[in-house]
Symmetry: C2
Subunit: 355 residues, 2 copies
Amino acid sequence: MKLSTRITDLFGIKYPIIQAGMAGSTTPELVATVSNSGSLGTIGAGYFNPEKLEQEITRVQALTDLPFAVNLFVPSEKLYIPEKIEHMNAWLRPYRRAFNLEEPVLNISEEQVFNKAIDIVIDKGVKIVSFTFGIPNQAVIKKLKAHNIIIIGTATSVEEAIANESANMDVVIAQGSEAGGHRGSFTRTSNNQMPLVGTMSLVPQIVDNVNIPVIAAGGIMDGRGLVAGLVLGAQAVQMGTGFLTTEESAATELYKNAIKQSLETDTVVTNVFSGKPARGIDNEFIHNMEGYNDDIPDYPIQNQLTNAIRKAAAKEGNAQWTHLWSGQSPRLAQRLSAALLIEKVVKEAENILQQ
Amino acid sequence: MKLSTRITDLFGIKYPIIQAGMAGSTTPELVATVSNSGSLGTIGAGYFNPEKLEQEITRVQALTDLPFAVNLFVPSEKLYIPEKIEHMNAWLRPYRRAFNLEEPVLNISEEQVFNKAIDIVIDKGVKIVSFTFGIPNQAVIKKLKAHNIIIIGTATSVEEAIANESANMDVVIAQGSEAGGHRGSFTRTSNNQMPLVGTMSLVPQIVDNVNIPVIAAGGIMDGRGLVAGLVLGAQAVQMGTGFLTTEESAATELYKNAIKQSLETDTVVTNVFSGKPARGIDNEFIHNMEGYNDDIPDYPIQNQLTNAIRKAAAKEGNAQWTHLWSGQSPRLAQRLSAALLIEKVVKEAENILQQ
């Protein structure tokens, strides 16, 4: 078994390691360092406006000539119900008061921002684009393919992986339940739940049911996880939490330390921060929200309603009122530069392969 | 990397494959076939009375001279609250009526049965004993060790693995969230939940925190899973659902077919059948119980209250009113003899290792 795979050939990278597009936590330095280290850096553009996206791509391109990806959130159906937003604003008032914050003005024109982002990645000559929260429409897919852009989808079940392949995605990420941050799920299970299948189960079952290359994600933090992912049939692995604690990540010290100090059992999957289910370290904000007797507004509404509160809390060193996305392997987290992390992971993997 | 490990040496087996002690679903033929095929068969004795345990061990010993294990359930704290039992009996009345069943006479003398089982495994010369639902007291552990019996504990978190090592267990099973059947958990997380950590995350974090050999469990059904488990640092893997659909298993055709026809997203973790959380295929009995507005009686009370109903339902081909324990990899299930399954898994593993 080798570290050169269908994915390393397709992406033109040296190692089968993808840095997850962690919206809010990537920096041009992180993305460029990962790509310059022989892996695939990803700009987490899920929350960017067009100007910010253009700036970040320009900055990354100034720092590396090697391939990198841009991760975008696919706009999803959402309910805009003024009463429910008012109800949530009332609930959030004490948090806002604590930081002297105003109620935010909502901007939920996801569709326009998304379409503009597609034009930008094409104009800027980005080679690889990955998607979370669903599959873009065929017009978008055809447009990207017409410019020879490699497109990567995200799946949390075999059904979602097959849907990605049918939609002409070039590659699919198999996101296991261990993964930190937002669940990429866009279907429901037979009992109307969100798919939550462990990486060990999800990867081989997806590999057996699609012909496009699969990227294993969820709980992978070191060389053991990298080789295990390849053994299960993946052509590369994606690491999120692993890169979140590196020097180049945009995560605050508070956030990085919270991960380093947490246990594998400390995370929960919750939609209270953004309106979409995501795995993060359990804290007071999540607990308090258990007492909220109404639906949580859909993404991106809830995300915008809580955003300033989370930023202010993080700024003031309050880990209890901000999101702390993390996968289930925090004990494996390293405080290194992204370059040293990749070097370490590759060395561990090569040692395993030589045994 | 080789298939001979610390565990194969310790247990005196050829391949690092353990057949899980699936209470209610193992047969002497399954256990002996697995052991005769170079792996470790396990008698699922969790529900046995002393007579039945003695018979099964005798039968297995007649079928193989090779090592096999006996899996026992460690007696746990339970509340016996007559009102709650009456309440549950009232709820179960329609199910009992459908099959003309009487209310069962409860026998919750777990402690006596467990201590008798310890004497039996010693008298019968069993070489390996594994435990689920906790750690036996030191008197039991010392007694088994005095007879040179290898003892295996079960952990669903690093904390539980360390507790097993501290209690002098020789080996610990790392049970990932993908695993089918009962959760071995005996602690709660910081947010008072049951640990539910994916195999990809759990195994390396346990391996890094104990010195005793670790057995990886959860979602492992083929050679890919076997090698992945070893790559993550385990010295062997345990397969449950994989052996449940073999010819020698005691599972009914209804049960085996339900697994073969299910999806990776069809299972839920529920305590409605036995009083302890277990992963199984979602069905009508579980759905109906969602309407039950009281606590589910503790194990083994609930297990005894629902047992005859589940048996009768299974007998009449009703998959909706019986438990259908399964892990999250049902698409990988095979309908083979246990010997052919092991041969297939080992061949796949050897092919991966030769790549």
